[in-house]
Symmetry: C4
């Protein structure tokens, strides 16, 4: 009976991955569709179109930041699922909660794009980031405690995954605190943090020791 249960749970990881890819795909594509293009009636020359599009710069930056965010959390979730030997119902529901936070991202992004001068919009956006991080952290903790991970996982991986989430969330919180000075600092700082996570994996190749700590 146990093997039957394990087999079902094993299927779950595949279908959970399929549902996750679907939800990330829809959320990532809908992000940019939230952009309100200038109305055709309001534009009567190339110059006016240019100015109307230039006015969309803050929104574009925010949508780009959210795409990076979703990409980072997609890679993060995938890394966890790749290490799982099997799943259980609790883990599935932690990930469904995580996916709920993913579906909130286009909404909190649209809110921040509409109200990018308001701290409340930034705090709500950050709470979305925090929820994504907390649930991914909880998922990892549950997988380790429930012995759902593969036997061949290197000994250092659990601590590395936890550290990665803690540092990222620390930087996001720092970014939000910068809105005490100016909203643009906050958004710019978070964009830089995200770009760092996107581009960082190039560094380990040059610094071997660091790469080993990372890969463990």
């Amino acid at each position: 009976m146990r093997s039957e249960y394990d087999r079902i749970a094993g299927q779950n990881v595949e279908r959970l991955a399929a549902l996750s890819d679907g939800i990330f795909a829809v959320a990532m594509t809908l992000l940019v569709l939230g952009l309100r293009l200038p109305a055709a009636r309001a534009v009567s020359s190339e110059g006016e179109l240019w100015h109307a599009l230039l006015g969309l710069r803050p929104e574009l930056l925010i949508y780009f930041m959210s795409f990076l965010t979703l990409g980072i959390f997609w890679v993060g979730q995938q890394t966890q699922l790749n290490h799982l030997e099997r799943s259980d119902r609790d883990l599935t529901w932690i990930h469904l909660g995580f996916l709920f936070a993913v579906t909130l991202t286009p909404v909190s992004t649209a809110l921040l794009a509409d109200f990018f001068r308001y701290r409340l919009a930034l705090v709500i956006y950050w709470m979305n980031l925090l929820l994504l991080g907390v649930l991914l952290y909880a998922s990892w903790g549950h997988a380790i405690r429930g012995k759902l991970v593969r036997d061949d996982m290197p000994a250092g991986t659990p601590a590395a995954v936890c550290r990665r989430i803690q540092i990222a969330q620390g930087l996001y919180a720092l970014g939000v605190l910068l809105c005490i000075f100016a909203m643009l600092w906050s958004i710019g700082f978070i964009v830089l943090v995200q770009l760092n996570y996107v581009l960082a994996p190039r560094l380990p190749r040059r610094h071997k020791t660091e790469s080993e700590g990372e890969a463990k």
Copy 2:
């Protein structure tokens, strides 16, 4: 010729699962996008934004309830498909009907969010829940009668799946009846029922006997 037919039908389960994951992913992501954010023109201070967002609480609760609902039915459908050895055209069409009810969910959710003081909106929402349950029940009955399930399925599984759907639908019907007293009681009760199905799987660990009855 029979093995050829079975092979095609076997493929069906995989592609049915893929289509299901796609439809659930789109429906789950579009749910929250139905939320109408406050218009930028109507807000001129942090306080006004705060009040405008506070006014969205009933809608948010309803969208959260629908996400839980879709999550519960996704897990339920997945459990059934995992037990299938093969499929046939009738089963495929029962599941396409089930997926039609899934695509109706964002619409009935938007209706309930817009008209959460109207009993008619709640009754329509409940009819959507009922349709999801009836078709999942019909799918299971057809699979058992048509011997489409795996040979290694434990003897108690069919009855457990049926009981689960019957009890859930009984609780939803009870929740709708509560609207005789107040709409909020109905919505609150259904949210509690859904949260119970999300969190319940933690209990069996503490009560071994119950867990065995559940797992069978």
Copy 3:
């Protein structure tokens, strides 16, 4: 070099199926979202909500018809792909054309729902159905001519697939001609044809001879 090419083409069938499931999932979910719910401001009693929703009956029937249509063509495309041993670029592009017709379906459905008293809207809807059928027919012809199908396919399958498409398209054309008398006859007839294709597979069980001709 030939085996390398075949391997890539084999992969294509899987990814073509994945893209198809994705496009069908989005199109099926967006269909019903085209429904315009009554505005909250325009409704002030349960009775008014009831009447506003009753007024949506023609649109609901049309969306239901389109969901059945997409379901039928999804099953039809799946049956073809299941019989393929490998694919080539031409076949991929015929299917991409077919998927383009699938993405047109929510648009032609919305047009018919908005203008269900206009013959032009029905003719455009029918041209969409025709395009779906013609491309599926062309895909099958190309697969047979190019020897892309599995060796173990029963001898009668190619003719059965062609006949199925021809008869369905004949019935759709007949349905459109009925608009000479009344639009409702056309829409009602096409709904009945679609329901027949959904429910028909139950019949072969009772009539053995017919079932063999069907299954071959």
Copy 4:
């Protein structure tokens, strides 16, 4: 530890393909939904509906061009992924950048459809095409340099993939330059280029020598 890393990376290619299929599916389906159908109130006869729909011809041509574009880049990305033995984080992020450009396509298409008399809209649309091409080119270069491709790949494939992207981008740039004469020439030329890439694979069958150069 290396085999563990490779296994995870191998998974990445599959999930990257699944995310890509999802994003392409959503972007392809949403393209045509950007089409603004005539309002029911503005139409009171079959003739008026006919004229209103005829007025949508430029938009329809542009949406068709974008569907072809997404189809071509989907086939192009798929061909690359099929040749990969494994992936790494850098390659994943190049493809996430490519997918970001895919999500921009419905937006730049809607912009061009709204402002098809403005050169700026065409230049932005072309920058989207350029970004898609540059990232696909970068992905291939990274895969070759990082030895991520399969051992059994024919020797001529890398050069053939690069040449294909270079020629296509050269033709797109030429098409945009034609807007010096007339916008319609530009759009018409790009549509012809895309149709050529869709239909071209039929030619090799007649010219055997060319086919070998293509297949290598």
